[in-house]
């Protein structure tokens, strides 16, 4: 009472005035994220067996898996697309994947200018070459953000 609380408050703020600041200077100093941070997704197309468990597990219908069935009855991945604008980052797809083809990574810069840029997509080799010729794009295991028609090249999929 009688202003003691006020003086205590003034003392506290004055003390904190001279203490170390907590601000991170973001673009220069990147945050030190925990390894488990659910920043965005990494997709391993080689490991994917097109089983669609992830898209079935997803609560929001974010994931779209297109595949074709070859003569050997094996599924071939054609298109793997996640509409991250609807993603809850709940991790049910990562949990569901039997081959760990889709995992979280800590790259978090998903902000983009247009709604369409929020896609995270892996596209199979198109147009389909003859079975003997392996297209080089298929070797690219890291998912690359594929911009839809006219999308910006800095689309949000990976940490490009």
């Amino acid at each position: 009472m009688f202003g003691i609380g006020l003086v205590q408050g003034l003392y506290t703020t004055a003390k904190r005035f001279f203490m170390k600041k907590v601000t991170q200077r973001y673009p220069e100093v990147l945050p030190d994220l925990a390894p488990r941070s659910k920043g965005s997704f990494a997709f391993d197309a080689d490991a994917c067996i097109s089983c669609c468990l992830c898209s079935d597990a997803c609560p929001n219908g974010v994931i779209k898996v297109d595949y074709s069935v070859g003569e050997d009855k094996r599924r071939r991945l054609e298109l793997y697309r996640m509409n991250l604008g609807y993603c809850l980052f709940c991790g049910l797809c990562v949990e569901a994947c039997p081959k760990s083809a889709i995992v979280f990574k800590t790259d978090f810069d998903l902000a983009c200018f247009r709604k369409d840029d929020n896609l995270f997509a892996w596209k199979g080799p198109l147009p389909r070459p003859a079975a003997a010729v392996q297209a080089p794009a298929a070797a690219d295991a890291e998912a690359v953000p594929v911009a839809p028609s006219g999308g910006s090249p800095t689309a949000a999929g990976g940490g490009s």
Binding site: G61, V62, K64, R81, M82, N83, Y86, K115, D116, L119
Partner: protein, 163 residues
């Protein structure tokens, strides 16, 4: 926590005859008929130690099952939930309001009316609470049509952009 059967027994003399009151001790439930609801709930009030926390309704083919959840703080042992179950008619869902007995029933009854369309008699201000005022229908009913193009015309337009 008090035994549900004992509560029903304790309520018995106060309510007089003609009250349909069934007790299920293991599930801690009392089942009453709609016409006796107010009597039973005011009986609970006079027993003391109860707090009305929640009213929720389930739409079943045979009618709307309403559960009045009370926190039972009397008796020995831990606090537990006592549920009073009552069924409202599917065609003409009408129940007595208990707002004058339990003040917290005000918002809860409004919610049930808004989402489930159960009408509570004998109270004022039974208006929409979560849905907007000009909303048509009661969304938690099973026969509520989810896909109605006229409900959200703007959403239907932008649907094309969705994956």
């Amino acid at each position: 926590m008090r035994d549900a059967a004992l509560i029903a027994e304790a309520l018995g003399p106060e309510l007089g005859g003609g009250v349909g009151l069934e007790a299920d001790s293991s599930a801690r439930e009392l089942s009453v008929a709609g016409r006796d609801l107010a009597t039973v709930l005011s009986g609970l009030k006079s027993l003391g130690g109860f707090v009305l926390l929640d009213i929720d309704a389930v739409d079943r083919p045979e009618g709307f099952d309403l559960s009045y959840r009370f926190l039972d703080r009397g008796g020995e042992g831990p606090v537990a939930v006592l549920t009073v179950k009552v069924r409202a008619d599917r065609g003409r869902p009408l129940l007595p309001s208990v707002m004058h007995i339990w003040k917290s029933a005000d918002v809860l009854e409004r919610e049930v009316w808004d989402l489930m369309g159960v009408v509570f008699e004998g109270r004022t201000g039974l208006t929409r609470i979560l849905c907007r005022d000009d909303f048509v229908g009661h969304p938690l009913r099973k026969d509520f049509a989810l896909e109605r193009p006229d409900r959200f015309p703007e959403a239907a337009e932008s649907e094309g952009g969705r994956a």
